[in-house]
Structure formats: C-alpha cells, structure tokens
C-alpha cells in the first residue's frame, strides 16, 4: 500500500502547490511598499548600506533595501518608470549618461535629483613582502597599454613589448609586469583608464596632440589595455585581489581605497608620482586617482514613499558624509566643504537634474 500513500502524498503536495500560488498572488495584491528601494553600483553599495542601517536604526522607518546590481543595471531599473514597483534611488559609480537620462524621461521619470556623495580612491597596491616601488602614470601607461609609442621615439605605436618593469625604467625592479585589475565592464576600470592611462599617454606630446586632432585614435591608444597576460582581469571581488597579492608578492593590484585601508598589515599602496595613497592625500587632491560617486533620486517618490526625505537628510548630513563622518570611517573620501554645502543644498531644495547638463 506504499504506492497509495505516495499517491495521496503527491496529491496533497500538488494541492498545496496550487494553493500556494493563489495564496501568494493574493498576498502580493494586498502588499504595499513601506520601505525605500535602492539599486545600483556595487562600489557605492558599502557606503549606502551604512547610511541605510543608521537610518533604519534611528529614524523610526524601515531600513531601506539596497540592491547591488551594477550601475548600468541599476539605471535600467531606476529609469523603468514611476510607481511602487520601481526603485526610488539609483547608486552610481559614474555620472548618469545622457542616454540614460533620456530613457528615464521617456518612461515618465522626469524629475531627478543628483547627489554626489564623495570620492573613491583607486589605488595600486602590492604585497607588503615586496619592496616599495615609486611609479609614474607614464610608466603605468607603458606597462599596461596594448599599444605603446615605439621605443625608438617615432610617432607611431607598436604592440607593447615590455615584459618587466625594468624594461620601462631601468630604476624599477626586474620583476615581470603582472597587474590584477577590473574587467572592462567595471566602472573602476573606466575610471582607471581615464585617470591614469589617458594622463600617462598624454605625457607623449604627439599623443596629447591627438586628443584634439583625432579623438578616436587618442582613445584607442589610451583606452586599450593589453591582453597578453600582463594585465589580468580579475573580476570585481577586491578582497580576492588583496589575497592574491598576498600570495604573489611580485604582482600589483588595482582596487578601491577602502580595501587598502582595511588591509594595511598585508598590502601597501604604491606611490603614484611620489604620492602615497593615504586618506589625507586623496581627500586634499594630492593623490589624483580618485573618482566621484553619485546617487540619483526619483523626485516623484519623495513624498509618497515613507522616509525618503529623512533618508536623504541622513545621507547629506555632516555626521554621515562629513570629514569625520561615519562614511569616512568606511573609506569614503569626503568632498571639500563647499562641494558638500552645495550638494546638501541641492538635497534640501530637491534641485532638478536636466538631461542637457550631462
């Protein structure tokens, strides 16, 4: 009679399944959103979550839900439209693109507030076990670009011939060039290319001249990173990069400042143009490899989703993003005073972002 029992069991399970569908469809119909929904960049995620947690524990509202979807995915969701099923805020590790703003506009997301929250330093790090090495952006460009200016001095590019750091500059060690960094899909990579590779490339006068004359060629020289194994696309897990550096002292890694901050006993920041990447150096602009982080707010939601105004106020308070704020504890580099003031005014007045400004 075992069969019968199974038979009955399956029957009941099927009924329960069926019931579960209908029951839940009902639950969905009844539910209403009483929390803030945030989507976007995985780089902003560690900072936005701190604010959300503080907000949730002190303000008497539910803790906002913060998804880590990547900037692009976040923008797509954010610009999907106005309404409870769409997120209220999008975090971004770069500025909103004009095309994204237009997509928002098309879908009825007309009023958007833009808030810059601070800066994220991008550091080049190496294991503590290796000897410190001072490096310039020009050298980094020569080490990592797919095509570099012909070493003889002619104004043309050749596939990158450099195998060791010594090949580039005799004062550097004879270690194999091995840099772990983000893949081309990552915003960190975009920022690195813009802040290091472009600047490094522009040290060559003829490449700099290209920037005006033939922008596409300029970009294709500066933006293309070599793919012959010297630059290793390591995925977005910065902790893994840190641990790989620890295991492989001759390698370098490109990652966010907060990871250096947390792993000071294992990893050293490599000075770029003689400036060691420290909190202070990044904050006062001496260390120039840093990029702004943003979030975007759907203004139509501000009055209808509980806690929106309070969340914005919390984010834009000195206690959060100020120089001694809790975000700086987590490794976010604060904006200069006047910039902070101007953005906190924007938050108060809910200044509108117009697509033309992007």
């Amino acid at each position: 009679m075992k069969g019968k029992k199974i038979f009955a069991g399956l029957g009941v399970a099927a009924a329960l399944t069926f019931g579960a569908i209908t029951f839940n469809s009902n639950a969905i119909a009844d539910s209403a959103r009483d929390y803030i929904s945030v989507v976007g960049s995985s780089t902003v995620y560690p900072f936005a979550t701190v604010v959300a947690e503080q907000f949730g524990k002190t303000a008497g509202f539910k803790t906002p839900k913060i998804e880590s979807t990547g900037t692009g995915g976040g923008m797509k969701l954010f610009c999907g439209g106005v309404g409870v099923q769409h997120p209220d805020i999008a975090n971004a590790s770069r500025r909103m693109k004009k095309s994204e703003c237009e997509m928002c506009d098309k879908n009825g997301v007309k009023d958007i507030l833009e808030v810059k929250i601070g800066y994220d330093g991008i550091v080049l790090g190496a294991s503590k076990k290796s000897s410190a090495m001072n490096i310039t952006r020009k050298e980094l460009f020569l080490a990592l670009a797919a095509n570099v200016p012909e070493p003889g001095g002619a104004e043309s590019v050749v596939p990158n011939p450099y195998k060791t750091w010594k090949d580039i500059n005799p004062s550097l060690p004879a270690n194999k060039i091995e840099v772990l960094g983000p893949p081309p899909t990552s915003g960190t990579r975009d920022a690195f290319v813009e802040l290091v590779m472009e600047v490094g490339g522009s040290e060559f006068a003829w490449i700099k001249a290209l920037e005006k004359a033939d922008k596409d060629k300029f970009k294709s020289i500066c933006h293309t990173i070599r793919e012959d194994g010297a630059y290793i696309e390591a995925g977005e897990n910065d902790n893994l990069i840190v641990q790989k550096l620890d295991a492989n002292p001759s390698a370098f890694g490109i990652f966010g400042f907060s990871f250096l901050d947390q792993n000071g006993d294992k990893i050293q920041g490599t000075p770029v143009e003689g400036v060691v990447p420290t909190f202070e150096a990044i904050a006062d602009g001496k260390y120039s490899v840093s990029r702004p982080l943003y979030f975007y707010v759907k203004k139509a939601h501000v009055d209808v989703i509980p806690g929106m105004k309070e969340y914005l106020k919390e984010f834009a308070s000195e206690k959060a993003w100020g120089e001694d704020g809790y975000l700086s504890e987590k490794g976010l580099i604060p904006m200069p005073d006047d910039e902070r003031k101007s953005f906190s005014k924007d938050v108060q007045t809910l200044k509108n972002l117009s697509c033309g400004d992007l």
């Binding site: 199974i6 399970a13 099927a14 579960a20 969905i28 839900k65 099923q85 893994l240 006993d265």
Partner: protein, 424 residues
Amino acid sequence: MSETNIDIVKQGLEKRYGAEKRFRIYGVCAIAASLIFLAFLFISIGTNAYTAFQQTFIRLSVYFDPEILGDTTNKESLASANFPAVVKQSLLKMFPEVQSRSEKKQLTSLISSGASYYVRDMFIENPALVGETVQVWLPADDDVDMLIKGHVERGVEEGERRLNNNQLGWIEKLEKDGNIEKRFNKIFFTTGDSREPELAGIFGAVSGSFFTMIVTLLFSFPIGVAAAIYLEEFAKKNRWTDIIEVNINNLAAVPSIVFGLLGLAVFLNFFGMPRSAPLVGGLVMTLMTLPVIIIASRAALKSVPPSIREAALGVGASQMQMVFHHVLPLALPGMLTGAIIGMARALGETAPLLMIGMVAFIVDVPSGFTDPATALPVQIFLWADSPERGFLEKTSAAIMVLLTFLIAMNALAVILRKKFEKRW
C-alpha cells in the same frame, strides 16, 4: 596432451584476479579522493569560521544619566534619545586621563557603534533604570575584535594597523582588568545583515533561504515527478517526446543567470510580483531545478525493470495503477537523489537571484514569502566582497551554516531513501 578449456581459463586467472583487484582499488581511490577533498574543504572553512562564533565584548558601567536622556516618560522621544552619549560617557569614565577631543574619539571608537542600540533596548524594556548604574557587556568594535582574536598582529608598525598605540594601550588595560572578554556570539545567529561586522547576523539570510527553499520544494518536486512520469510512462515515443527530452536536457545547461532574466521578465514584469521576494526566488529556482529533477526521475523510472510493469499489468492493473502502485515506489530513491542534488544547487545559487533583486542589503528579518529577503549564498557573496576584515570569518561561518542546512537536507533524503530502496 592438448590443453583443455579449463587450463586456458586457469592461465588467465591470475591476470583476471589482478584486474579485479585493481578495479576495486580504483573505486576505493575515487571515493577516498572525493572524501579527502571534502574533509579538506570542511577543515579549511572550519578553521576560518570557528572564531566567528565568539565575539569580543567590553564590560561597561553604564550610567543612565537623566540629563543626557531628557524626557524618559515619552516613548516617542526615547527612541531618539542620545544613547550613544550614554555609552561614550561610561567608557570615558573608565579612562579619566583621556582629555583631548581626538583621543576621546579614538577611545569611544573601541566600542561598537551599535552598542547604543542594545543599551536603548535595555532601557526601553526597563525605564526604571534612569539614574542607575548597570554593568553591561557590550559588543566591541570589529577592529578590537580582530585584534583580540589574533587576526591582526599587534607587533606591526603603528601606521599599518587600524588601531593606534593609544588604543592598544587602552585595550591592554581593559584586558588586565578583565573588562574585555570573548563570549558566545548570539548576535550572529539572531539578527539580520549589518555593515558592522560585529553586529552582522545570519538569521535574515537563513529565513530568506528557508522561505525560498520551501517554495522551490513545493513546486519542483511534485511537478518534476509528474512530468517525468508522464514523459516516461504515458507519452508515446515519437518525435514530439524526443523534442521534449532534448529540450529538458538543454534547460539543465542554461546558465543560472539566464533563469534570473526569465524570472525578471515573467514573474516581475508580467505577473507583477514584488522584487526581492522569496516567492519569486523560489519560483525561479523551481524552473532551474526542474530539469535536474525530471532527468533524474526519468532515469530512475527507466531503471525499474520491465518485468515489474508486466507483472502488474498481467494481474489486471490499469496503467495508472501500475505506475503509481508499483513503479513509482521503486523509482523513488532515484527521484529523491535528483531532488536533493537539485535543491542543493538551488540552495547554493546566487546568480539568478541577482536579476530579481535578492542580492541586496536587507536588515529586517523577513517573515513571509513576499517580504524583501536575501538568501544564504547571497549573504556569503556580499560578505566576501566587503572590505572589513571582520567579515572574513563571518563569511566562513555563514558557509558553515549553509553546509549544516545542506547536511540536514541530505540526512532527510538518506532516511527516505533507505525506506524505499530495494534491490532485485
């Protein structure tokens, strides 16, 4: 004399016995290799994880200063009363020599920023404490925790530590006085996510995974078994069933993130279900595990000898009776195996959840199928990606919790399998 057959056989015997022995040894080696590997993984996770089950606490004499708290009769204002100041004040009292502003800040950073919530909850529970002094163990900051647990060397240079020499000195004094102690980490098992390692807990993710798995199990097992029965026992073998078979095999190879895309398009956009809900996660996981269960169930059904079927039909059972009364019970162990492997995969999967919004920071513990929730592997993934050193051990501990779930699930399957397994 010519060789007899038996001689020929005898000549080859030694070789054949050797082959027999080798074959057996291969088997033992294969199992040993997998088990050794499993043990290795467990040990390496365990050694990282065990410290997370303890947490550093600091004992403070908390004085509920009426001046700081203000109006304590009003519940509303109490929630936003300055409890952080109460905690800070009591810590500063222990080190009267600390005077300068920057030193004070360094000292108060030794205690977790979440400590004030515990003090607040304690006070709200018992408002009569106003004006009293109470001894409380409060969680220490994660930097202190890492130091006490030895994950951060004390010997390294000042600039390379997160704690400076002053702070180290205070910690040593606290240690000497017995005011700092490692205790069982209840927080880890009872709370949701947090960005402070010392306050982060696994319970939210466990609940999320639980709800997701319930949905997955409820849907995928009955549907999978039913589909397998139909395809294997009732459907006519023709081109159409071939298409279905290839199709199901093919679904098993679809990358899990594509199932996430499907879930986004169908469940969220078409049916309008809420984002980040375990219900949707469970449904996506159901679609993902169905092929595995169907394939395993079909293999199990196939392996029931035709004689059983013929015997049942021979005594006059209808086809349906033959299947449900005789074939199904014999095929059940194989079906359970499929279900377990499928569920295990669903339990450890992150990628499809990304598209439907379950890779998220969610502090509040979900209490139903439609509350925003995350899942255990997602929590592991998010913690593994966090800069704070304290999350390293938390990651391993969360993995241990996940494995415990997995073992419990497997144990259940073993019991069921034992009940149904038969050899003939």
